[in-house]
C-alpha cells in the first residue's frame, strides 16, 4: 500500500489516476488557491487507500482526520508501527467496510505528516516556517477535492469525519455539494466557539512563549519548542476527555508513591499522564503545524461563509446527512450538532441526528462505542 510517490505527475505532467489509487503521495498538478488570497504551488498530498474502487467509481468513502491525525486510518504507521487511528472502525467487515468501500484518507494541508505544511520546503528550499500562508478548513477540503480529481473520482459515496474531520466534511458538503451523496459528521461543530478558540490560543501562546520557537525558525537547530508544544498538547488533551472519565481513570491517585512529596514533581497520576501525552506528542508533531491547523479551526464558521445563515450553506444540497454527538463531549457539545441538524432541516436536506451516551468525552468517537458502530454502518450501507 505504500508506494511513495507512485502517482506523482510524470515528466509530461500527466497523472494516471489508476496508479494513484494505491495511495502514497502525489503532487497536485495545479496551484492550490487559498481563502487567504494566496496560492500554493506543487502541494504534496500524502494519503492512504483501502479496499477497491468499483468500475462505476461509486463506492469511494473519504475520511477526514482530526487536528493531529494522519492518513494512516486503518493500517500501521510505517515509521512508528502504531496501529491506524481508526482501525476499530475501518477495515474488512467493520462499520466502514473496506470489502465494500474504497476508503481514502489524506493528511491535511498544513500538517507535518506527509502533506505540505510549514515544515515543508518553500520555493527557496528552506522550510516555509511562518512564511507559510494561513490556511482554512475550506483550503484543506480544496486540497482533498484536488486529490479526488487526481484519483478520477467525481462523486463520493460518503465523506466522513470526526472533530476537525467533521468540519471538513461539512465544508465539503457546503462547498462541493455535488461531489458526495452522504455526509457523516461526528463530534463536531459548524463554528469554533469562543471557548474553543480560547483553548487553542493557550496552546499557541505556550508554543510561541517557548524561546526555542524562535519566531518559527527552529528547523535548522534540531530541537524546536518542545516544552511549549507539550504544554499545548496537555491543555488540549484535557478538552478531549470528560471530567468523569478523568476521575475514573486517575482520581486523586498518586504516581508511584504513597505520600505527596511537597514538591512540584508529578505527584498525581493525572499529572504524569498529561506530561507523557505532551512529551510523546512532540516526537511526532511539528509546532508550527500545530499553530497553523489550530488557526484554521478557529477561523471555521460555516455560516459566516454563507451570509451568516447556516441553512444557506446547505441550500440545494442533495446529500443525506447524519450527525452524531456524545453526551460527555464538552469540546463540541451536543448543542453544536443540533444547530447543524436544524439548519439542515431548514434547508430541507435529509438529516438524522443522534446523541450517544459514552463516558470518554470528545475522544469517544475514536473509542469503543458500539452504538456509534451501528449508526455508522447503518448510515453508510444505504
Amino acid at each position: 500500500m505504500l508506494t511513495g510517490g507512485a502517482g506523482s505527475p510524470n515528466r509530461s505532467g500527466m497523472v494516471d489516476p489508476a496508479l494513484n489509487l494505491a495511495g502514497g503521495s502525489l503532487i497536485l498538478p495545479q496551484p492550490l488557491p487559498l481563502d487567504g488570497g494566496q496560492s500554493l504551488e506543487r502541494v504534496e498530498v500524502a494519503y492512504e487507500t483501502y479496499g477497491k474502487l468499483n468500475a462505476e467509481k461509486s463506492n469511494a468513502v473519504l475520511i477526514c482526520h482530526a487536528l493531529t491525525g494522519d492518513h494512516h486510518v486503518a493500517s500501521p504507521h510505517p515509521i512508528t508501527g502504531k496501529a491506524g487511528w481508526w482501525v476499530r472502525t475501518v477495515g474488512p467487515g467493520k462499520p466502514i467496510d473496506t470489502d465494500r468501500y474504497f476508503v481514502i484518507c489524506a493528511n491535511v494541508l498544513g500538517s507535518c505528516l506527509g502533506t505540505t505544511g510549514p515544515a515543508s520546503p518553500a520555493g527557496d528550499g528552506q522550510p516555509w516556517a511562518m512564511r507559510f500562508p494561513v490556511i482554512t478548513i475550506r483550503d484543506m477540503v480544496r486540497t482533498l477535492v484536488a486529490l479526488l480529481d487526481s484519483l478520477g473520482i467525481d462523486q463520493l459515496h460518503a465523506v466522513i469525519g470526526g472533530s476537525m474531520g467533521g468540519m471538513q466534511a461539512l465544508s465539503f458538503a457546503a462547498n462541493w455539494p455535488e461531489r458526495t451523496r452522504a455526509v457523516l459528521v461526528i463530534a463536531s461543530t459548524a463554528r469554533h466557539s469562543a471557548q474553543n478558540i480560547a483553548f487553542h490560543e493557550v496552546g499557541r501562546q505556550a508554543i510561541m512563549a517557548d524561546p526555542k520557537w524562535e519566531g518559527g525558525n527552529y528547523y535548522a537547530k534540531g530541537k524546536g519548542p518542545e516544552s511549549g508544544l507539550a504544554v499545548a498538547r496537555m491543555a488540549a488533551h484535557i478538552t478531549y476527555l470528560s471530567e468523569a472519565g478523568l476521575t475514573e481513570k486517575f482520581g486523586r491517585r498518586l504516581q508511584d508513591r504513597t505520600e505527596k512529596t511537597f514538591g512540584f514533581d508529578a505527584d498525581f497520576q493525572v499529572e504524569s499522564y498529561l506530561r507523557h501525552q505532551g512529551l510523546s506528542f512532540t516526537d511526532r508533531f511539528d509546532a508550527n503545524s500545530y499553530l497553523y491547523i489550530t488557526r484554521a479551526m478557529d477561523y471555521f464558521d460555516l455560516a459566516e461563509e454563507h451570509g451568516g445563515r447556516l441553512a444557506e450553506a446547505f441550500a440545494g444540497v442533495k446529500a443525506r446527512f447524519c450527525l452524531v454527538s456524545f453526551d460527555t463531549d464538552w469540546l463540541y457539545p451536543t448543542a453544536e450538532s443540533r444547530v447543524i441538524a436544524h439548519a439542515l432541516n431548514a434547508a430541507g436536506a435529509p438529516v438524522s441526528f443522534v446523541e450517544l451516551s459514552a463516558p470518554f468525552g470528545h475522544d469517544s468517537f475514536l473509542l469503543d462505542v458500539p452504538a456509534q458502530d451501528r449508526v455508522i454502518a447503518g448510515f453508510l450501507n444505504q
Partner: protein, 196 residues
C-alpha cells in the same frame, strides 16, 4: 408491507402517497419505513431513545433525536402534511401543548393512545383497587413511561376545547378494529385523525 402494529397500520392506510410526514416518537422507524417503501412518503422522525434513532438510521430514515415536549418548536409551521404521535401523547409532560405543536408543524395530525377507560382497566381499579397492568399497559405505575393516562372521552374533550377537528377515528380491541359504539368502554386503543 411487514406486519405493522395495528394502530400504525390504520395510520399508514390513511396517509396520502407522496406526502411529507413527521413521526414523533417513531421508535425503530417501522411506520416510517413502511410509508417510505409503500407510499413514497418523505418520511422524517423524532425519537428520544438513541437506540431507536440508530435503528432508524440503519433503515436509511432521517430521524432526529429529540423530545416531543421541547424539540418540536424547531420545526416551522406546516412543515409536514402529517404529524404523527403514536403511543406517545400519554408519555409527554404536557400533552395539551404537544397536541398544539403537532397541529402546528403538521397540517393534519394522527394521535394514537391506549384508552385508560377500557373496561378491563376500570374493572382492575374497581375490584382490585390497584393501578392496572394490562397487555397495552404492561408496566407498573412506578416505572411506566405513561405519565398522563387518558381516555377516549378525555381526548375528545381536549380536542373540542382546543377547537380542533376530528377527521377520523378508529378503535381497536385486541388487534381487531371495532365500531364506535361505547368505544370508551370497549376500545383498548384509539386512533384519531385531526386537523386545525
Amino acid at each position: 408491507m411487514t406486519a405493522l402494529r395495528p394502530d400504525l397500520a390504520i395510520i399508514a392506510a390513511n396517509v396520502a402517497p407522496g406526502s411529507r410526514v413527521l413521526d414523533i416518537g417513531c421508535g425503530d422507524g417501522a411506520l416510517l419505513a413502511a410509508l417510505r417503501n409503500d407510499k413514497q412518503v418523505d418520511a422524517r422522525g423524532m425519537e428520544l431513545d438513541p437506540h431507536g434513532v440508530a435503528e432508524c438510521v440503519a433503515k436509511g430514515l432521517s430521524v432526529m433525536q429529540g423530545d416531543a415536549d421541547t424539540d418540536l418548536s424547531d420545526y416551522p409551521d406546516a412543515a409536514f402534511d402529517y404529524a404523527i404521535l403514536s403511543q406517545t401523547l400519554q408519555t409527554t409532560k404536557r400533552p395539551d401543548m404537544v397536541l398544539d405543536e403537532l397541529l402546528r408543524v403538521g397540517r393534519k395530525g394522527f394521535v394514537s393512545f391506549p384508552n385508560f377507560a377500557h373496561w378491563k382497566v376500570r374493572a382492575s381499579l374497581l375490584w382490585n383497587g390497584r393501578m392496572p397492568v394490562t397487555r397495552l399497559l404492561p408496566i407498573a405505575w412506578y416505572e411506566t413511561p405513561n405519565i398522563h393516562h387518558v381516555t377516549i372521552r378525555d381526548f375528545r374533550e381536549l380536542v373540542a376545547a382546543k377547537g380542533y377537528r376530528i377527521e377520523g377515528e378508529w378503535f381497536l380491541s385486541g388487534d381487531r378494529q371495532i365500531g364506535p359504539l361505547a368505544a370508551n368502554w370497549r376500545a383498548e386503543h384509539a386512533v384519531f385523525q385531526l386537523s386545525r
